[in-house]
Symmetry: C2
Subunit: 404 residues, 2 copies
C-alpha cells in the first residue's frame, strides 16, 4: 500500500491520522472473530448497539455480511454474522524473479483460483502481460467482474533481492509507476507493496489475527524481510522502507554486506549465503543435488538444501541450523524491541525449512520469555507460506477496501 494508485483516497500523509469509523471497526472485528452477533460487536468495537445495528444493516444490504445461524442465550438468541466469502473478490499478483503468480481470492482471503506464468524478460511487455493475465484469471474463474475490488501487486522489494548496489528496479520498472499504469489499463484500483509486508497483511487477514496482537511476519524469499503489524496497522516507516529484517546486525564486526554495513543477518544467514555455502562444498552440494551448471533461483536452491536436510542429509542440516541460530537471535531482538506477541514464518524459504527455523526461534526465546518478560511469544508457520506474497497482495486490496 505504498500508494493507493488509481484510488482517490489521500494517503494521510499531509494531515492527521485516519479515522476509524464504525464500518471499518465492525468489518475488521468480524474478519478476525466471525461469527459474531451485534451485541458482541458492540462490546468488541466500543460502539453502541444502535450504531452497530445501523451499520450492520447497511452491510447486509451491500451483501458484504450475511446472517448465519443463531446462538442461544438466556433471552432472545443472538443472530450470528459472517463475511460472505464470495461477496467481494480481489486479485493478487506476485512478481517474483522468474515467475509471476496470480491469485483470485474471496473476501475472507480464501483462494478461488490461481495462475502462474514464467516471467517475461521483455520489459516493455510487462504491463500488457499483467493486464492480459489478470483478464485470463478472471475469465477462467467465471466470476462476476463487478465484484472484484482491485489488484494488489507485490514485488521482492529492495530487501536482499539483489547483490548489485542500490535498490533493485523491478525489471526496469518503478513499482509505483507500474501500479499507476496498471490501474489505468485495467480500470481497477491497484495497490503496490513489498513481499514481506504483503505477506504479513495476508497472514493477518487469512489467519484472523486480531488488532490486539502485536504481530511480525518473518519472510524468506530471495532475502530476509519482516512485515510488522501493531494495533492492526502495518508499519511502513518514514519512507516505506521498514522491515529490513535482513539488515539487523547480529555480529558487530561481521562480514561486509552489500548494503554497505557489517554483520547483517542476511550476509551471515540469508538464503543466498546458505545456498552459496552449499555449492562451495562438494559434499554438501551433492547432498542437496546442486551443481553450478544447473543453477536455479536462490529460493529454489535453498528449497533443495532444505529438502535434503529434511531427508536426513547431515551437512545440509548443519548449514540450516547454523543459519537458524542467527535468524533466531535477530527474531528475538525484534520481539524484545517491539513487544511482539506473535511471530509467523512465511515465504518460500521458511515454507521449505520451517522445521529447522521454527524450533530454533522458539528455543531461543523460551528462556527469557518465562523468566524475565512474563510473556509467551507464539511462533508459528504460515499455512500457505509458499504463496504468502500473492495472497497477501490480494489481502492488501481487501484491507484497503474495508476502509473505503
Amino acid at each position: 500500500m505504498r500508494q493507493p494508485v488509481g484510488d482517490a483516497a489521500p494517503n494521510g500523509r499531509p494531515g492527521r491520522a485516519r479515522r476509524p469509523g464504525a464500518r471499518e471497526s465492525i468489518l475488521d472485528a468480524i474478519r478476525a472473530s466471525e461469527p459474531l452477533s451485534r451485541v458482541e460487536l458492540a462490546a468488541l468495537t466500543g460502539l453502541t448497539e444502535a450504531a452497530v445495528s445501523m451499520t450492520v444493516r447497511r452491510l447486509l444490504e451491500e451483501g458484504l455480511v450475511v446472517e448465519t445461524g443463531r446462538a442461544p442465550t438466556g433471552g432472545k438468541p443472538r443472530t450470528l454474522l459472517r463475511l460472505d466469502p464470495a461477496a467481494r473478490l480481489a486479485v493478487g499478483v506476485y512478481l517474483d524473479q522468474d515467475t509471476t503468480t496470480y491469485v483470485l481470492t474471496g473476501q475472507t482471503g480464501g483462494v478461488i483460483s490461481r495462475l502462474a506464468r514464467p516471467a517475461t524478460d521483455v520489459s516493455g511487455s510487462l504491463l500488457a502481460d499483467l493486464t492480459a493475465d489478470v483478464d485470463v484469471l478472471l475469465a477462467g474463474s467465471g466470476v462476476d467482474r463487478a465484484r472484484c475490488l482491485g489488484i494488489g501487486v507485490v514485488w521482492p522489494g529492495p530487501r536482499g533481492g539483489s547483490t548489485e548496489e542500490g535498490p533493485p528496479r523491478l525489471r526496469g520498472w518503478d513499482p509505483d509507476d507500474l501500479g499507476r499504469r496498471l490501474g489505468a489499463t485495467t480500470g481497477w484500483p491497484v495497490l503496490v507493496e513489498n513481499d514481506a509486508t504483503a505477506a504479513a497483511i495476508g497472514e493477518y487477514w487469512v489467519a484472523r489475527v486480531g488488532p490486539e496482537q502485536a504481530f511480525a511476519a518473518l519472510y524468506m524469499g530471495g532475502g530476509l524481510g519482516a512485515g510488522i503489524i501493531v494495533e492492526g496497522r502495518a508499519m511502513r516507516g518514514g519512507h516505506g522502507a521498514a522491515g529490513e529484517f535482513g539488515h539487523v546486525c547480529v555480529q558487530v564486526d561481521g562480514p561486509e554486506c552489500w548494503c554497505g554495513s557489517r554483520g547483517c543477518l542476511e550476509v551471515l544467514a540469508g538464503p543466498r549465503t546458505v545456498t552459496a555455502a552449499a555449492l562451495a562444498d562438494p559434499a554438501t552440494a551433492a547432498e542437496a543435488g546442486l551443481d553450478h551448471t544447473g543453477r536455479r533461483s536462490v529460493p529454489a536452491d535453498f528449497a533443495a538444501v532444505a529438502r535434503a536436510a529434511w531427508a536426513g542429509a547431515p551437512r545440509c542440516l548443519a548449514l540450516l541450523e547454523d543459519s537458524a541460530r542467527y535468524v533466531a537471535a535477530a527474531a528475538e531482538s525484534v520481539v524484545n524491541l517491539l513487544d511482539i506477541d506473535l511471530v509467523v514464518l512465511t515465504g518460500p524459504g521458511f515454507a521449505a525449512a520451517s522445521f529447522v527455523y521454527g524450533p530454533a526461534i522458539q528455543r531461543r526465546m523460551a528462556a527469557a520469555d518465562a523468566r524475565t518478560w512474563r510473556r509467551s511469544v507464539t511462533v508459528t508457520v504460515s499455512l500457505a507460506a509458499a504463496t504468502a506474497s500473492a495472497t497477501g497482495a490480494a489481502a492488501l486490496v481487501l484491507q484497503s477496501h474495508l476502509r473505503r
Copy 2:
C-alpha cells in the same frame, strides 16, 4: 501512559483506534511548528479553514493559544498563533534509584522549577513523600494550581535496572498501583511510564519533532532502553514492554544476560558493564577516580568514566569506544527495522558520553545510508539529556491532555 490512572478515558484497549479530532490535530501542529496561521493549520491538518477557525476560537477562549504577530502576504496578513507557555502546567516525577526528581513545566515543555530529593528507603512513606513534595514544588513556584493538568510519574522500568531475576519492583510498589493511589491523594490525574518512553515523548514535545518523523530516543541510565515514536504515537507494544533496546542481540553466542538470553547489547556494552570493566582494571579505575569502597550508582560511575575519557584518559576512552561500537550496531538495526528518520541520544549516560556514542552511531550508518537506503538519518543529542526522564514525565501529561 501505561494507564491513565485517575482519568476516565479508556485506553482504547477494548475497541477501535482513538479518533484524531480537530482540537488535537491543531494543538499538535502548533506544538511542532509554531507560530502558525489558521490557513497554514488547515493545510497541515487537512481540515477546512472553517473548522480551524472554529476550533481556534475555542482554544483562544480557553487561553491555550494566543495570537502573536502577523505575517505579510499578498492580501490580508496571517495572524500567527502560538501556545501560551504558562496557560497550563504539568508536574513530572522521576523515581530514580537513589534520587527523586520533580519538575514543573509549562505547556511547551519548558521547565519552570525543579526539585530533587534523596530517595527514601522506607517504602511505606513513598506515597506520602510524593504527595508532599509535589505540594512543595507547586507552592514554591507560586503558580495557580488550577492550571496544573496532572502528574507524570516515570520509573526506570524493567529494563536493565536490576541484576536480580524478574522485573524489579519500584521500592516495593507496583507502578500502576502507585499511580492510582497518588491520583487519589492528590486529586490530579496521574500517568505512569517507563524512563525511555517518557524521555522519547519529552524529546518529541520539547524538540518539536513532527509526527511525520519516525523517531527513536535511545536512553542510557542504569541500563539501555529505547522510546520509539512513529506517526506521532509512542510504541508500547502488546504488554507495554516495547523498547527493550538493551536486549537487542549483537552477538549470537555472546555472554549470558540476566534476562536469560545471550549476547544482549546491555551485557556487552551497557553502562553497568562499562563501569564494571573500569573497576576491574586498576589502571582504568585510577583514570576515572573510581574505587570499590566509595562506589556510587551505575550512572554516577559511568559519568566518571566519561568525564575521564573526555579529559583524555586513554583507557576510559577505549572502554567507551568499545561499548559504542555495539550500541551503534544495535542502533543501526533499529533504524533499518523501522525506517527511523531521527535518533536522539538521551538520559544521563548519553548526556555524559555522547561525544563518543554520537559519532560512532553516525559513522556506522553513514555508509549504507547514502549507498543503499537513499535516506539520511539524523543523530542528535538531547538538549536536556540528563533530566530527560523528568521533563518527559511532564510531557506525558501535556501529550495526554491534548487528546483530552
